[in-house]
């Protein structure tokens, strides 16, 4: 154990070991973050996610423990570096733009007083570049009150990154946005984190955030980390009910080919028309609609993920002949378990796909563990995300 910890300290950008007791709540967390890595901290409400971020940012003090950034102790016995000297940024649910400052002045604030320490004039120029980067060119003079929620969060992202944080903490940054705006902000965060090479920890209870933004997932429950690994690995083998509920979606992590998601085992998942653009960013989708097997792309494969609900998976005992669902494959039944909305059928493949159906349907179809079944999903029920 000590060997791994020692190794982590050498390679990790950020290493934290935190203990805190408040009332009946106890937090005991060890986590590390590699340079350029994005870690998703998943957990239900009240699991202590935001507390962990506050402790890392220096906005709260642990009872015992340490926070080390780049070999420098930020939190240690008898030592607590102030938040303004940590270079750890925070982007929360609410944009919290300074209401008396324009969008430009908000970003310029971070450039003047953050790592860059620019003078007022250069900060204004650079602030406009940042606003351009987040798609808000020309809105520099607007006061926060005149911007929409999504625009405010864009400014907040630009401001957080402009401060030049060594680690950016994201506390459910999409939670306060409406369903139409959230995907754009999520995509923007992904792009900007990658472009700036910023290491980040994102706290969320939305699996899509983890899939799109994070390289690695840690699951926090009742103040302790109960699981850790790649998103796909953590969801494939849920360790507790919360993860199982999160895993209530089928997640196929694969590569994009001709507007479809190809799983590690070669299965092709066609996705709803609205999401095909996300799968072919450089050139418009040139997929030939009739083609059964997509042709291999010439360039490096784009990492993507397909997500669909178990209830959208239809189970057949014979190959379905009506051609309407485009995604059809055969698999073996690995397990039959009680689920939230009926019976869950876990079926073979990489990744395994879960189908949810009524107990009566299971009996009608005569399904048992080991049965061979045909599964189908309508492309319109499959959403896709770039990773």
């Amino acid at each position: 154990m000590t060997a791994t910890v020692g190794q982590d300290v050498v390679t990790a950008l950020l290493a934290a070991n935190l203990q805190l007791t408040r009332g009946g709540f106890t937090l005991d967390v060890q986590l590390t973050l590699a340079p350029g890595e994005v870690l998703a901290l998943l957990g239900p409400n009240g699991s202590g996610k935001s507390t962990v971020l506050d402790l890392l940012a220096g906005l709260a003090t642990p009872d015992t423990g340490t926070v080390t950034l780049d070999g420098e102790a930020l939190t240690a016995p008898g030592r607590l570096v102030a938040p303004e000297n940590r270079a750890i940024g925070l982007l929360g649910q609410e944009p919290l733009l300074f209401p008396h400052l324009s969008a430009r002045a908000n970003v310029a604030f971070a450039l003047r007083f953050g790592e860059a320490r620019l003078n007022a004039a250069s900060a204004r120029v650079q602030a406009d570049r940042w606003l351009d980067r987040v798609g808000l060119a020309g809105l520099g003079n607007s006061l926060p009150g005149a911007l929409s929620g999504g625009q405010q969060q864009r400014v907040a992202l630009a401001r957080a990154l402009a401060a030049g944080p060594r680690v950016l903490l994201l506390d459910e940054p999409m939670a306060a946005l409406d369903a139409e705006t959230a995907p754009f902000i999520r995509q923007l965060i992904r792009e900007q984190l990658a472009e700036t090479g910023t290491s980040a920890i994102i706290v969320t209870h939305d699996i899509v955030d983890a899939v799109v933004l994070a390289h690695r997932v840690a699951v926090l429950h009742h103040g302790a980390l109960i699981d850790e690994g790649t998103t796909a690995a953590v969801l494939a083998a849920p360790q507790n009910p919360f993860v199982a509920a999160l895993a209530g979606v089928n997640l196929v992590v694969g590569t994009a080919q001709n507007g479809a998601v190809v799983a590690p085992d070669g299965r092709t998942f066609w996705v709803r028309p609205a999401d095909t653009a996300a799968l072919s960013p450089a050139t418009p989708a040139s997929a030939t609609p009739g083609a059964e097997a997509p042709t291999p792309a010439a360039e490096a494969p784009t990492p993507v993920a397909a997500v669909f609900r178990p209830a959208s998976v239809v189970v057949h005992t014979e190959r379905p002949h009506h051609a309407s669902p485009r995604n059809v494959w055969s698999a073996r039944v690995r397990a039959i378990e009680p689920g939230t909305g009926g019976v869950r059928l876990r079926t073979s493949g990489d990744p395994e796909v879960i189908a949810e159906l009524t107990p009566a349907a299971v009996a009608d179809l005569g399904l048992q563990v080991g049965s061979t079944v045909w599964l189908s999903v309508k492309a319109t029920d499959v959403s896709a995300y770039r990773r």
């Binding site: 300074f98 401060a163 030049g164 944080p165």
Partner: protein, 260 residues
């Protein structure tokens, strides 16, 4: 939507506030007014009042804003205690405040004796006027600013800190602008209270022409008619009302232009 019954007490309340001022205007001897207002008996107290009230307001800002910050950021129990201590002079009759100031700083007072040994005598000087005014006006500023600080919360300050801004920068560029409206309201209230201060000044500073005779004391003196006419008291009152109205209008327009 308002129960009709409320209009009666509302009208009486408004009348109670407005009619006396109307009555005052009716009593004004308009032809003689210019001469009365331009007389040294009017101009000297006005100058003294404006000067002392300005200094007092400045002192209120310098002392009151930090005090408000400390209260707003204290733990609940300490904040409650501090708030109560600040509110006492607010609910105290100013005359009692004057006696209290004399007991501390006057001859025989705890601090007064010490100061006297150092060759300093506070009571019945212009400094005493400023101290008395600050004593009664400070709570208004502290309460207004503290309320604004608590409403603003610490979320913006925390964000500013995570962006790398030090405490001084955050205070000057985030905290103060956020409480701007409260600060303005507190300043106006303090100035108005200092301008109208009578009881504590009368006891602690006296009524010496050119040194401690501010407008309220001049009005009182004129009204008591030691050789002066009531007309003068009315004229001085009118002047004080005019100053107050001018300040309110100036602040009001500035506020409107900030908001628009």
């Amino acid at each position: 939507m308002i129960p009709r019954l409320l209009y009666l007490p509302a009208s009486i309340g408004l009348a109670l506030l407005v009619l006396p001022l109307a009555g005052l205007l009716l009593k004004v001897d308009w032809p003689a007014l210019p001469a009365l207002l331009l007389s040294p008996e009017a101009l000297q107290p006005l100058g003294l009042s404006l000067a002392t009230a300005s200094v007092s307001t400045l002192l209120c800002l310098l002392l009151g804003v930090p005090l408000a910050v400390v209260i707003a950021r204290s733990k609940p129990r300490a904040a409650g205690l501090l708030r109560a201590l600040v509110t006492v002079p607010l609910v105290l009759p100013p005359l009692v405040g004057g006696i209290a100031l004399l007991s501390l700083l006057g001859r025989g007072g705890v601090l007064g004796n010490t100061l006297e040994l150092a060759g300093l005598r506070i009571p019945f000087t212009t400094a005493a006027v400023v101290i008395a005014q600050t004593f009664v006006a400070l709570p208004f500023l502290v309460i207004a600013v503290e309320g604004a600080l608590r409403t603003a919360g610490i979320r913006y300050e925390r964000v500013a800190a995570t962006l790398g801004a030090g405490r001084g920068t955050v205070f000057a560029r985030i905290t103060l602008p956020l409480v701007g409206p409260g600060l303005l309201a507190g300043t106006v209230l303090s100035f108005a209270r200092a301008l109208g201060e009578f009881g504590a000044t009368a006891l602690f500073a006296g009524n010496q022409v050119g040194v401690t005779r501010t407008m309220p004391l001049a009005i009182y003196t004129a009204f008591n008619g030691s050789g002066v006419t009531t007309d003068q008291a009315v004229a001085l009152s009118l002047l004080l009302i005019a100053v107050a109205v001018i300040i309110l209008v100036l602040v009001g327009t500035r506020r409107a232009s900030v908001l628009s």
